[in-house]
Amino acid sequence: MSAPVDVVIVGAGVGGAIASTVLAEAGLRVVCLEQGSWTPRERFPHFDADWEWRRLNDWSTAANVRQWPQDYPIDTEDEVTLMWNGVGGSSTVYTGTWPRFRPSDFRKGTEHGQQPDWPLTYEDLAPWYEANDRVCGISGVLGDPAIPAREPFQTGPLPPGSSRAAMRGFEALGWHWWPMPNAILGEDFDGRPACNHCGNCQSGCPRGSLNSMTYSWWPRALRAGVELVENARVTRIETNENRLATDVEYVDPATGLRKVLAARHFIVSANGVGTPRLLLASASDSFPTGLANSSDHVGRNLMHHGLSIVEAWVDEPLETHKGFVSAQLICEEFAETDISRGFINGFTLHIVRMNGAGYQAHGSHSGNVAPWGRTHHDWFRTHFDHGFGILCVGDDLPLPTNRVTLSESMIDSDGIPAPKITYGLHANDAAMMDYAVDRAVELAQAAGAIDIKVNRWRNAAGKYTPPAWHLLGTCRLGDDPATSVVDQWGRSWDVPNLSIMDGSVLPTGGAVNPTSTIGALTLRNATHLAAELIAGR
């Protein structure tokens, strides 16, 4: 075994990219192990006629559908778990939707006690949001009164295109709405070109207009000297008698053999499913219930956001196949708790597009499928490019029963138990989503919809089985070792030289997409860790 490096990071996604950069730029020797690889530009489906088919098959964001060699199976019937295993992580194929949490998202313990307070405030995180944005390149418009003021965006906003019909509805109802901040360039920025509105963000962006970590943080990390090992799947983290992590075992991509890499400090950034899976798989005599799991909170409190979507079709062409897919507008009218609505917490409404002709004919996001037979084309003429989506995104409660454990029946290609995911909506959150759908239908009607379709993501048995893109809460941070896995800096309470930097540390999920918050928190915590490790040399 070679001499220990300063830091080993498991996972090259959002958390791994940012942490790698910060620590290497501080002068530390950093090795990042990534179970996948870079996704070369020519592999993206955007240049081929079968781009829509591929998005739902071999290029699917669902690992269980895609089944690439670097993917691991996910044992669940409760959801469709979405993730991307490769350099850049899920930022490789996400929509780049970039809102920030609200101050109250950090204070739910104070507000009602059904979620914990964060051990930091919005104000603590605000400068880190800004610093991360300056690297990623965010488009938007200042002046939204529904969120705290912020520094200027890096580029101007993207054209709203098809969302102009929804604007009409918002105006008629007198609800809040505003252009959504997006990690998609409205203008050229930092050597990357502005978006050309191709409409296939959900398969990633081969141009570099949409911020993947491979376009923003990773080039900087490599310049700083980070050693990135691709196709290296970490199988476990070992500890010693002093309850310190000593090394990671991973499968060597060149030989298929298991290798060991020692370090002074370890960071796990494998997302809200992969991180608890690795910690649980690293159980030992010293840590019989899993590494860093004395609280029994590793894997628990899984959050995805409550989701429903309402799609509306109007009697005018909207060119909904053009432009960035999600989201053009955000409505935060219902984002704060108002107990008179019959639930705590809140939700946001996002105006989204419907992709291409095949997807629209096959029901788009809501399942409004064009009829087969003689009326097929009549339906297509009145619906294609005439619709928009209203995505309802609710703050789901962190339930201990919503969790990631190790599967007893599935293993990956290296013999590691697959994650088993158990997830369901709390009654509060189900009530919230019902209310949200009613509001979205109201908006569709106010926009002049001639056809409306609701998708509550319930299966034939009525069970909520959502697409699960936001993987949050399973190693949450806190100020009490009994109810959290890591402290406010992401450092394990149980294993002092182990940190976690990804979505799993978020104690609450807010009512918006989490990537900007994961990035800001990682930047803050990695900066703090770098100072500690340098001081401790």
Partner: protein
């Protein structure tokens, strides 16, 4: 497969029938990728050509297989060059693939009432103003899950 495809997507004055394109063959190859061959044989009866009522029966009795058939055919059809051409003739600015051309959209108009609200609305609770809310009116909260 051509006959089956035409029952699902017949042509009209603007659009070609599915069988006038390569969609049936493409859909069939995709079905073979997704389903075991023995399941697919249900779709094809050598004795007689498929009829609308057969397809309706398939839709009601084997909905999962019907879903797969429709899924493969709809996506295969709408990527065919003849269909893209028909879309363009109807006035849609539509490419067969999103890149490299992308699309042109009208630029963002920052004037209030255009691409920004006519009146800026909305608010948030600042950190220091967040106060305890009484949740006792909600039936499902009998204990706290964290604070």
């Amino acid at each position: 497969m051509n006959k089956l495809a035409d029952l699902l997507i017949p042509g009209d004055a603007a659009f070609p029938a599915a069988s006038a394109t390569d969609a049936p063959d493409l859909a069939l190859s995709r079905l073979y990728d997704r389903l075991p061959a023995e399941e697919l044989w249900v779709l094809f009866d050598d004795e007689q050509a498929p009829r609308v009522k057969d397809l309706k029966q398939l839709e009601s009795e084997l909905p999962e297989l019907f879903f797969e058939l429709r899924f493969a055919l709809y996506f295969s059809y709408y990527e065919q060059p003849e269909v893209i051409k028909a879309l363009r003739k109807l006035g849609h600015d539509y490419h067969q693939a999103p890149q490299p051309l992308g699309y042109t959209l009208d630029p963002f108009d920052e004037r209030p009432g255009f691409d920004l609200p006519s009146v800026a609305r909305g608010s948030y609770k600042p950190t220091q103003e967040i106060e305890r809310i009484d949740v006792s009116t909600l039936p499902w909260f009998t204990e706290t899950t964290g604070e």
